[in-house]
């Protein structure tokens, strides 16, 4: 079964050797190979599926418009099913067998960290679509990422609190990966942001009532706001309980619940006035005309929704950003050599994506600042852009 493919590969390798061109030399006509390992199926498919669709859609569009540097893009997508071990195998396959010049993928932080050494060893640029801070901190020479981090979400929430003259916070977090990670980051940056965490509570992923925890927070000394680090249905229950208990201090949720299901699960009445940091994509139509992201975000939203007839998600947006950063870097470098391409990605300045305006440097392989997050408030069962 493998033999013909094998034979062909051996012959190809021989032919390549015979023609031996210097590394990274341009060969017009030959496609530029781009790889992606995504969790298209499995527990993280709600992230991986829009990423996969976005990459395919935009690679087709780019190729339809003449490709990059006169060459077509050739996209190879592998599905890791949410398994980090499988992701690593596919990463090896992309590097060794498919000979990709760069990778845009890595749906979860676990898969990204498992694959990172493969790309670092091979000196192939790797733009990850996962959230974890540890992907780019400390920065690895060839690894980048597009999504904002939970630390930035904490900072955004705290900045908004301070702008409202509040500083004493009661924190309630889920014990799942998302909640636990964000909790840690929030506690780390609280002091620098001028915020004191005066009460801290947690809940399990399947808990159905958070009244006791919220009561304890309410009874803590001079609590001025409640911050909920969580994902899934926990935050909706917290929101409902918060309203039922008649707690008047403002409630902040995380970027993890920035979807319409959250409002309907929590009920619009209970969610009224809840604030959370979200990507510009969530409030695309409300962005002012002068906003640099407005056009990009609206274009992506329209293109995605027209093609797939399903609502756009920020996760697909991360894939869009990753692919576009790569394409611009390919143009600037005018080369597919790993190190030159890496330098070009690192030199990304003022790139306007769905996740924010990206300014990378040797020490910052994400390149987003707090303006990437928009503070939104639930009003009348819908999101409203507030402040900045």
């Amino acid at each position: 079964m493998q033999v013909p493919a094998l034979l062909r590969r051996v012959l190809l390798a021989g032919a390549a050797l015979a023609l031996a061109t210097p590394a990274g030399a341009q060969r017009s006509g030959e496609p530029i190979r781009v790889g992606a390992v995504l969790s298209v199926t499995g527990p993280a498919s709600f992230l991986g599926d829009p990423e996969d669709k976005t990459l395919r859609l935009y690679v087709n569009r780019i190729n339809g418009a003449g490709g990059v540097n006169g060459r077509q893009l050739q996209l190879t997508v592998y599905d890791d099913g949410g398994d980090a071990n499988r992701a690593r195998t596919f990463a090896t396959r992309l590097v060794e067998d498919d000979k990709v010049v760069a990778m845009v993928g890595g749906t979860t932080t676990g898969a990204t960290l498992a694959m990172r050494p493969v790309f670092e060893d091979a000196r192939v640029p790797f733009i990850s679509l996962a959230g974890g801070v540890e992907i780019v901190e400390p920065p690895q020479p060839y690894t980048f990422k597009t999504p904002h981090t939970d630390r930035m979400a904490c900072e955004k929430i705290f900045a908004d609190l301070r702008a409202r003259g509040l500083s004493r916070v009661g924190m309630i977090s889920g014990t799942d990966g998302f909640g636990a990670s964000m909790r840690g980051q929030c506690l780390r940056v609280a002091q620098a942001a001028g915020v004191t965490v005066v009460a801290e509570e947690s809940y399990g992923p399947r808990d159905s009532d958070m009244t006791p925890q919220l009561t304890r927070i309410r009874n803590a000394e001079r609590v001025e706001a409640v911050v909920n680090a969580g994902f899934g249905q926990g935050p909706a229950i917290v929101t409902r309980n918060h309203a039922q208990l008649g707690i008047r201090t403002p409630l902040y949720q995380s970027h993890g619940v920035a979807s319409r299901e959250f409002i309907s699960l929590a009920t619009p009445q209970a969610a009224e006035g809840v604030r959370l940091p979200a990507a510009a994509l969530l409030v695309a139509e409300q962005l002012p005309e002068a906003d640099p992201q407005r056009r990009v975000v609206l274009d992506y939203k329209t293109a995605f929704e027209k093609e797939f007839n399903q609502p756009v998600s920020t996760f697909g947006g991360h894939a869009y950003d990753g692919l576009m950063i790569l394409v611009e870097a390919l143009k600037r470098a005018n080369s597919t050599d790993g190190t030159r391409l890496r330098d070009a990605i690192r030199a990304t300045r003022g790139f306007v994506g769905t996740g924010g305006v990206v300014n990378m440097s040797a020490s910052d392989h994400m390149g987003l600042d707090l303006s990437a997050f928009r503070m939104v408030e639930v009003r009348g069962g819908d999101w409203r852009l507030v402040g900045n």
Binding site: D83, A84, R88, E96, T109, D176
Partner: protein, 327 residues
């Protein structure tokens, strides 16, 4: 037919030849990586074969021990300062002990109850690995330091291919020896009928427990190797789906056959790689092929094919009893 070599030696020789010969056909390091994965998964499957095929007990939590082995290599150096490699036997001993303690009450159960109890064990391990964020890194996983041997850093798929291949060969050798020992015959007896075995004077509980501990140690070693090879591990290595995969490897390869487990592992590791060309249909095709194998080669691939061959050569197909079909 096989001259003076016993079936056991033929198998061992064949495996050694395969391990030594296939790299000649590898065009890139990716193939070494996949083959190394086959050997490592094969090692875990061979251990499970001792429990399932030889003792006739089902474990749906086998990956739990795999996870223990992998995390031993991640946490051991961090907590005790031992070199990574030393944590492999440490993890194996730990897994064996846990299997011994957990196995005693669990192995009193039979059939479905036993399967559910082991399932619970696997889930427990995953929950602890996911929940103990501070220690295990939670769902995002944890890094495993690179292995150093005499000051030389072991890396690269090719090196791991030989290490994993060697480990598998040793594992198969031990499993085959066990199968041909008095213990193995006791296991075979209780596999066919616990009541009959007990009547014949076999200490059923003790032998079952032994097989369980052996399987756990195999899984732990495989987990450690997998972890060191990847330099990284996430809790899904210990998860339910991965447990099911190992059970499938044993059953599809032929649960009565030690090398069958390796064939099953090869199939389940290679098929997803070969089927990626079909994109969306990948999973459907994988399921279909597994079903077809089970329908047409009911005893598993290796015993099934051996039976077909023997039938063709001798003219008359021999009925293959579960304990007798040893390839």
């Amino acid at each position: 037919m096989r001259g003076r070599l016993s079936a056991r030696h033929t198998t061992l020789l064949g495996l050694a030849l395969v391990i030594a010969a296939v790299p000649w056909f590898f065009p890139s390091a990716y193939y070494f990586r996949v083959a190394a994965l086959v050997w490592v998964s094969g090692l875990a499957a061979v251990g499970l074969q001792v429990l399932m095929g030889q003792a006739g007990q089902v474990s749906l939590g086998h990956a739990g021990f795999l996870g223990l082995g992998a995390y031993a290599c991640a946490l051991g150096p961090k907590l005790t300062g031992l070199p990574v490699l030393a944590c492999l036997p440490l993890g194996a001993v730990l897994s064996g002990l846990i299997a011994f303690v957990v196995g005693r009450p669990i192995l009193r159960l039979r059939g479905h109850t036993l399967a559910v109890a082991t399932l619970g064990f696997g889930m427990l391990v995953t929950m602890v690995l996911t929940g103990e964020n501070g220690l295990t890194g939670g769902p995002d996983g944890i890094r495993i330091p690179r292995v150093e041997l005499f000051g030389w850093r072991v890396r690269g798929a090719e090196t791991w291919y030989w290490i994993a291949g060697g480990a598998l060969w040793l594992g198969v050798w031990l499993a085959l020896n066990l199968q041909d020992s008095p213990s193995g015959r006791a296991l075979a007896a209780l596999h066919d009928s616990e009541v009959a075995a007990r009547t014949l004077g076999v200490d059923v509980a003790r032998h079952k427990l032994r097989a369980f501990v052996v399987a756990a140690v195999y899984a732990s070693v495989a987990g450690s190797l997998l972890g060191m090879m990847n330099g990284f591990v996430t809790p899904d290595a210990a998860g339910f789906l991965s447990s099911i995969e190992y059970v499938t490897m044993v059953v599809i390869g032929g649960s009565a056959s030690v090398p069958g487990a390796v064939v099953g592992a090869a199939l389940l590791v290679l098929l997803p790689q070969a089927l990626t060309v079909f994109h969306e249909y990948e999973h459907a095709l994988l399921g279909l092929m597994i079903m077809l194998f089970m329908i047409f080669l009911r005893q598993g691939i290796l015993p099934g094919l051996a039976g077909l061959l023997a039938g063709r050569c001798l003219g008359a197909p021999k009925p293959v009893a579960s304990a007798g079909a040893r390839a």
